[in-house]
Amino acid sequence: MHATICDLITDLTQNSIEAGATEIHLKVEETKTNLNVVIADNGKGMSAEILGKAKDPFYSDGQKHKHRRVGLGLPFLFQTAEMTGGTATIESEEGVGTTVAFSFDRANVDLPMFGNFATAAVTLMAYGFDGNLIIERSVNGKSYSASKNELAEVLGDLSNTESLTLLKQFIQTNEKEILNPNI
């Protein structure tokens, strides 16, 4: 499995980007007991047959790499859920989109560390795709949201050092606020 939950989130959200989604909603919620994540996209979706295979680590549609016989993103999710007593679901409809959702028990000792959400958010927003990514993040009831289109409108090109630095500061300050129990 991935070393951190944020690595898992990055990986799974990239699937939405690669599915050609123009709208991706990423919801990451931490409550006292649970970690709930939903990644919903309007990408190309999958047929029931392909969806069944997508959970198999030795399946890949072969489009990215012709001779590749592995696809580990989704299997890492189901492995993590299985090993930590969490739940994970994936729903998909061809031509409509895909929704991946999972809920983990934060107290489970086998749960990977949460990781660095600011970097995950920045790398996803700066991944270089045309669609929008809307992040809704909440910790114990406090929340913020960030929209890639809005941020790109403010910052311009999201690949130069300056924009990336400002983008990271924006996410970091918002993270800090919702993580601080005293505000």
């Binding site: 690595d7 990239q14 690669e18 970097t119 700066a126 270089g128 403010v154 690949s159 990336l164 300050t173």
Partner: protein, 129 residues
Amino acid sequence: MAKMTLEELRNLRDAKKKEMTQRDTNDKSAQIIIGMGTCGIAAGAKEAFDAFLDELNSHEIKDTKITQTGCMGLCFSEPTVEVDVPGMPRVIYGNVDGKIARRIVKEHIMGKALVSDHIFDKPAADIIK
């Protein structure tokens, strides 16, 4: 720093724009392309991303682009990073952790010398003929 709003972000951006000295806006800027597939992520590509951004900032290098790509097919040498500095061979570096990322900024991007011990892919044939 207090929570930043979009408006504050816009103001900061405008202030930075004014600070900027006139820059060469053609395609001459260096580019760092980080492999961010499942394999790259698992091997620490995000740490490399953070280190590149931090090191570029600490040397006030503003015209280098950092972009990402999926798996480059070199999963065993992740994190892999391609570096393209104008006038130098395009190089793919392997096993780029935070420390190596900082070396790449200092030695390759600033010093115009390859970080030879981490080159995975040798410079293209037309360059070493």
